[in-house]
């Protein structure tokens, strides 16, 4: 017996203080609502998605409407109507309209890129990890090569060889992110394929694809989803960086990263041109990071109890507990 008292095993589960949840989905919602930060993050993300997708339907054509008479209007003033509450650029284009359309572009690049790399990477990774041997070696070497390749160069090549469109940027970003999922899925699946329940399935003559689908996939999924939520952040920043460097979204297209870049030369006279789009990137990224850390805890059965601790008790423990074994007083 050691003196480490781990609240996760031994004491906590047997007390029965929390009744077993009736249905998985319902209890997940309830867990989410208990974490104020995660709830706020989710609400903000949903608002961003709704306003960019819905807003660009309404304001889409306004984003390129030039009106030199209304050029460089400072923000936070309703003198020129609500369209100009965040100001306008030198050509008199409404910042709000451009933010909304730019957000849609950014999301339209980041979401498909994450989904494509998630699907391809996890499928190859689970397959390689399950079969081990040469299939694993080949998959891992390919991942290594992709990782060590300057993605900037790849973006430029695509830009020059093909037409520089949003879909091409999606492809570039998806390819560069595949190794992340491939490695995660391979590691977990390689570990799982040596477990007894997989052996058991094998002795029944279950085919490898069926074993992967039924026994490997459900266990690997939470980890992959966590990685994907975090990676959404990364991909969004990567798209912004490419657009900022002039090798991503091209004008007259709009994206947050491109807007920051375009506003840079007017920094002395119109700071808002760079400030707001960057802020939008930060808010979206912070929210998805918060949500990712919640997903990581919520999908891990050995960590989930943390979310069920009543807020007051958690606060009390936080105040009292120094991590090092403290002097007993």
């Amino acid at each position: 017996m050691t003196t480490m008292i781990d609240p996760t095993d031994g004491v906590a589960p047997e007390t029965g203080a929390t009744p077993p949840p009736r249905s998985g989905r319902l209890s997940m919602w309830r867990l989410l609502l208990r974490d104020r930060m995660a709830t706020v993050a989710l609400v903000v993300l949903v608002l961003i998605v709704l306003s960019t997708v819905g807003g660009s339907l309404i304001l889409g054509d306004k984003s390129n409407d030039q009106d030199l008479a209304r050029g460089a209007i400072a923000p936070f003033s309703l003198d020129h109507g609500w369209l100009y509450v965040l100001g306008s650029d030198k050509l008199g284009r409404s910042m709000i309209a451009r933010m909304v359309v730019g957000g849609r572009t950014t999301l339209a690049v980041a979401v498909p890129a994450v989904l494509i790399s998630l699907v391809i990477g996890s499928l190859i990774g689970m397959w390689a990890g399950y079969h081990r041997g040469w299939r694993e070696t080949v998959a891992m070497r390919v991942a290594d090569v992709i990782m060590s390749f300057p993605s900037l160069l790849m973006a430029v090549v695509v830009l020059y060889v093909f037409s520089p469109s949003a879909s091409m940027i999606v492809v570039v970003l998806a390819i560069t992110r595949i190794p992340i999922y491939l490695r995660t899925a391979r590691a977990e699946s390689a570990e799982l394929q040596s477990r007894t329940f997989v052996d058991a399935a094998r002795t029944f003559g279950t085919r490898p694809t069926a074993i992967i689908r039924r026994h490997v996939f459900p266990i690997v999924l939470p980890t992959l989803l966590t990685v994907a939520t975090l990676d959404f952040c990364y991909v969004m920043l990567a798209e912004s960086s490419l657009s900022f460097l002039g090798i991503g979204i091209q004008p007259p297209g709009v994206s947050w990263g491109l807007m920051v870049s375009q506003g840079r030369q007017y920094l002395q006279t119109a700071w808002w041109l760079s400030f707001f789009p960057g802020l939008a990137i930060v808010v979206t990224a912070v929210c998805s990071t918060l949500l990712a850390s919640w997903v990581r805890i919520a999908t891990d059965p050995s960590q989930r109890w943390r979310l069920t601790v009543p807020r007051k008790a958690a606060a009390r423990r936080r105040r009292q507990a120094p991590i090092v074994e403290g002097e007993v007083s």
């Binding site: 017996m1 050691t2 003196t3 480490m4 008292i5 609240p7 031994g10 004491v11 906590a12 047997e14 007390t15 203080a17 109890w305 069920t308 601790v309 008790a313 423990r317 009292q320 507990a321 120094p322 991590i323 090092v324 074994e325 403290g326 002097e327 007993v328 007083s329």
Partner: protein, 339 residues
């Protein structure tokens, strides 16, 4: 059942001074579902030159008692009540500085798992020298010489060449010797040994216990042995404190407690040990399992597993009371317990 150490010296040796006096020690653990009492009003004493065993199953609170005494408890653990007196001075409420000064020269502990308890990135010489550097302010060179002397004392061959080796280069038994060397470096008044031989082979176990006993004699220490091993208690200890569910259920000299147990739990434990003379007979075991810490009965803690249980056991907690000279048990019907 005879205790070899008692045959050697136990009954005839004059009792030393009381080095450690634990009185009504109560320890709480905070969990997400409320606070539980893991150690409840535990009292015992240990004298210089004597080995006291804390005996009990996993989770009975014996290790928590030990770590509370040396002040190495986790942040979720509170000492709720009681006193721990080391040579008459209460450790609870002592300033951190005074407490650090006592850790080593007055009070030391030998951990169970020597591989994880030794720091993997430092040579054993550095780790053995540390007590001398901290408490005696010796120079690197002097402390190193002390470390070599200590290694020699605990039986590590060629200490001069081994002093610059790393922990992973030693065998399990040698690592345990090193841990003991660190603990006895400054000849503390009280040495706690937390399952010091659990991870070792039986032959190595015997050597380690002999080393501990020799060092106890040589440095006149009080040894508190924390263990679940009845045979070890019988061979090594002078006195035994039997714990169950955070409470002391019986305490006394080892030969008295083991020959005439006065608590049904002690008796159950003793009967569950296979004895060569009774080969062929059914081995008895205690039915059920110890209660969860959050569900310890407020009356007798042993009521759910006790063969003698009656109504009063479910309403009143029996106090620990003297049943013979220096022999106490916490049972309403201790007279009925016999072998």
């Amino acid at each position: 059942m005879t205790a070899t150490s008692l045959d050697l010296d136990g009954a005839t040796r004059p009792r030393g001074d009381v080095a450690l006096d634990v009185e009504n020690l109560s320890v709480d653990i905070r969990t997400p579902f409320g606070t539980v009492r893991a150690v409840d009003s535990v009292s015992f004493t240990a004298r210089r030159g004597e080995t006291v065993a804390l005996l009990g199953e996993s989770g009975c609170g014996k290790s928590l008692t030990a770590t509370s005494i040396v002040g190495l408890v986790d942040p979720v653990v509170d000492i709720a009540d009681g006193a721990i007196r080391l040579d008459g001075e209460d450790l609870i409420g002592m300033s951190p500085k005074r407490r650090r000064a006592a850790a080593g020269p007055e009070l030391a502990i030998v951990f169970q798992d020597a591989l994880t308890a030794l720091n993997p990135v430092y040579t054993v010489g550095t780790q053995l020298a540390e007590p001398f550097r901290i408490h005696r302010g010796l120079s690197r060179k002097e402390a190193r010489a002390e470390a070599i002397r200590l290694m020699e004392r605990v039986g590590i061959p060629e200490p001069e060449s081994r002093v610059d080796s790393y922990p992973h280069q030693f065998s399990g038994g040698m690592r345990q010797r090193l841990l003991i060397a660190i603990a006895v470096a400054l000849s503390p008044a009280v040495l706690l040994a937390d399952e010091p031989t659990t991870a070792l082979d039986v032959t190595v176990q015997a050597q380690i216990m002999k080393l501990l006993r020799d060092l106890r004699e040589e440095r006149d220490m009080a040894v508190v042995l924390i263990t679940h091993d009845l045979a070890l208690v019988a061979e090594q200890a002078d006195r035994v404190v039997v714990m169950y569910a955070g409470n002391v259920v019986e305490s006394g000299p080892v030969d008295a407690v083991f020959s005439t147990p006065k608590h049904p739990y002690t008796k159950g434990l003793l009967e569950s040990v296979p004895v060569a003379a009774e080969r062929g007979a059914d081995l008895k075991s205690i039915g059920g399992a110890p209660p969860e810490l959050s569900a310890i009965p407020s009356a007798c803690v042993y009521q759910d597993r006790c063969p003698l249980v009656r109504d009063i056991c479910r309403t009143d907690r029996p106090p620990l009371r003297e049943v013979a000279e220096d022999h106490a048990a916490a049972c309403h019907f201790s007279e009925e317990v016999s072998r």
